[in-house]
């Protein structure tokens, strides 16, 4: 049982506070992704779990054991670094076996463990090479191999894919997920890429400025963002947000003059005169005849397309709604010339209302 618990963990560098007392429970075998923009404290948090940074306040425990004052080697964790950190003077085989040799395990056991890790990751052909003779993807795999050889309680990944090119990144993403399904260990994974977070995580921890903004499954964060930050960070393209004001109990008047019904989820929780942000995803604004047939409350809008981004199965449409540029989606696309007008359907039930002052979602 290797659950990881953080309670009120604080990190200060001199006067600057990088992490503001975060609480997090990670279950055994869970794949948790810490995501957020750079400087949000996600890497610092991971390094505190690894024991590479001191903890200024709070408590971290791994498998029920408080590890605050334990050095990294006594935490039974392994880590994959962004720059791989392979030992340049050792061959792949020596790199893989290093931790077991340090632990003074018998030679046959080391050989067997290295061979097993190598076969899991397809490194058999590369055993005699030095890291300098490997491609980026191969180095990445060696780094992962080095991590799994010693059967750690917890795997830590620190932006492991950000040095790879786009195609390789998608491949390795799949391999990491497969690896997790195969070995089933607890994984804590740091990234700034929301796509990686969405695709890999059992649970996403979204951080900003040293605080946790929202914790939940990828779909939780996608469908029920806690505030405008989550709404614009998760999902591609980001959620459209238009400023407005509640004019009656069930009407929002957008700043451009357009009036829209308050979505059912927020009804009764808004007060007249409240400044709000009205939010919806591109998937919920589609031209009639090019949308998904779905029951629910809809609003028709006539909008003019200013720019298109064809993606194959769908086309992103840029248009102007109440004076704000928003993105819409078109399924079964046909060629469009900018300036063309369409009748769009807005899926009201899937729209969000955020308080303008705090940014928090208004939702029942």
């Amino acid at each position: 049982m290797t659950e990881v618990t953080l309670s009120n963990v604080v990190k200060k560098y001199g006067a600057h506070q990088a992490v503001h007392g975060i609480d997090l429970d990670i279950a055994d075998g869970e794949f948790v992704v810490l995501v957020g923009p750079s400087g949000c404290g996600k890497s610092t948090t991971l390094r505190m779990i690894a024991g590479l940074e001191d903890i200024t306040g709070g408590e971290i425990s791994i498998g029920g054991r408080v590890v605050n004052d334990l050095p990294p080697r006594e935490r039974n964790i392994s880590m994959v670094f962004q720059n791989y950190a392979l030992y340049p003077h050792m061959t792949v085989e020596e790199n893989l076996g290093f931790s077991l040799k340090i632990a003074k395990r018998p030679e046959p056991e080391v050989t067997a463990a290295v061979a097993k890790a190598a076969s899991i990751l397809g490194l058999d052909e590369l055993m005699e090479r030095k890291p300098a003779e490997l491609s980026g993807g191969q180095r990445q795999r060696v780094a992962m191999g080095r991590a799994i050889v010693r059967h750690p309680d917890v795997f830590l990944f620190d932006e492991p894919l950000s040095n790879l090119d786009a195609k390789l990144r998608t491949q390795m993403r799949v391999e990491i997920k497969k690896l997790h399904q195969k070995v089933g260990n607890t994984i804590i994974y740091v990234t700034h890429d929301q796509v990686e977070a969405m695709t890999l995580a059992d649970r996403i921890v979204l951080m900003r400025d040293g605080n946790i903004v929202q914790v939940g499954t990828p779909l939780d964060l996608f469908n029920q963002p806690a505030d405008t930050f989550v709404a614009t960070f998760i999902g591609s393209p980001p959620m459209n947000l238009i400023a407005g004001e509640i004019t009656t109990g069930d009407t929002i008047t957008l700043d451009g003059g357009l009036s829209i019904q308050v979505p059912s989820s927020a009804r009764g929780r808004v007060r007249v005169g409240q400044k709000v942000q009205f939010g919806f995803r591109a998937d919920n604004l589609m031209p009639v005849g090019h949308s998904v047939e779905e029951a629910g409350q809809k609003t028709q809008l006539d909008l003019t397309v200013t720019l298109t981004e064809p993606l194959g199965t769908e086309t992103l449409l840029f248009t102007n709604m109440a004076g704000t540029e928003v993105q819409a989606k078109m399924l079964n696309p046909r060629p469009i010339t900018p300036g063309e007008s369409f009748e769009f359907e807005l899926m009201l039930d899937k729209c969000h209302v955020f308080d303008a002052a705090s940014g928090n979602a208004i939702r029942t």
Partner: protein
């Protein structure tokens, strides 16, 4: 067509100029050394001849005399060689040990006044060694370590440590800190992480620092000439002075001893050379 030709000609011309410049520079560096070697093998008359004799004759007379008895212009070459070797090797080893620790600390740890310390060390290098010779002489005389290996080693360690720190600091700085972090996660203590990962990776840097320190000690003359007195502690550069008398200088003998001094340094540089070429590319990390 024409344009291509002139372009090619110009490129060829540049190449020739390049070689010429290189030849000139190398001549300036090498000819004095070569002249020493040549002079050590020819009779004094030929050395002093004006205009110089360009095709030298060959004799081992100076070498024979040097290794000969005291009356025939002999000097205690073996003692000088031994002194030089002991002083240089020991002072280099100590300087590397201290300098490497210092360089590592500067590269890896944050501490108060770090940059001031560093600048201070470099300033120390700016003081000419000779300027220290009198104070050193007085202090050493009081301590009774004048004319000893120990005294000279002490001076050379002090001379070499700042430079070694500066050099190794640069090498350790190039090694990403993730390497020792990875080693620590793999089960190493901080100490093991250094010796098993960071030191082997920085080995070429440490080797070049060592060769610099060794050559500095091996060739140092100014301080050694003040702090050594007898055959028991005089190093080879100081030994060269044995060839000067009140009215004459035995150039041939001096050149012969100088050759004996250069040879070990050359051999050592040659051996260490392959470490100097940073064969270890930092392939383990992508930066």
């Amino acid at each position: 067509m024409d344009r291509n030709l002139t372009h090619r000609n110009r490129r060829r011309g540049l190449k020739v100029l390049h070689f010429l410049a290189l030849f000139l520079v190398m001549s300036i560096i090498c000819i004095p050394g070569l002249w020493i070697v040549v002079n050590s093998f020819r009779p004094t008359v030929e050395i002093m001849a004006k205009p110089p004799v360009w095709n030298p004759s060959f004799s081992l007379a100076h070498y024979r005399a040097m290794f000969g008895g005291a009356g025939e212009g002999g000097v205690p070459v073996f003692s000088y060689f031994r002194n030089s070797l002991i002083v240089s090797v020991v002072s280099t080893a100590i300087a590397i040990l201290i300098g490497m620790s210092g360089g590592y600390a500067f590269a890896r740890y944050r501490f108060r006044g770090k940059s001031n310390y560093f600048v201070g060390l470099m300033l120390f290098r700016a003081v000419p060694g000779v300027a220290l010779s009198l104070p050193l002489f007085i202090v050493f005389a009081r301590l009774g370590i004048i004319d000893t290996h120990f005294g000279l080693i002490l001076v050379y360690v002090a001379m070499n440590v700042p430079f070694t720190i500066w050099l190794t600091d640069g090498f350790f700085r190039q090694i990403p800190k993730e390497l020792h972090e990875a080693a620590e996660i793999d089960g190493c203590t901080r100490w093991q992480a250094f010796w098993k990962v960071e030191f082997p990776v920085a080995r070429s840097g440490v080797a070049s620092a060592a060769i610099f320190a060794f050559l500095t000690s091996w060739n140092e003359f100014a301080l050694a000439s003040q702090l050594t007195r007898s055959v028991g502690s005089k190093t080879m550069p100081v030994g060269l002075l044995d060839f000067t008398a009140e009215f004459t200088i035995n150039w041939g003998g001096m050149c012969a001893l100088a050759v004996l001094m250069i040879v070990p340094a050359l051999i050592l540089t040659f051996i260490v050379q392959k470490h100097l070429i940073a064969g270890l590319t930092f392939g383990g990390v992508k930066g």
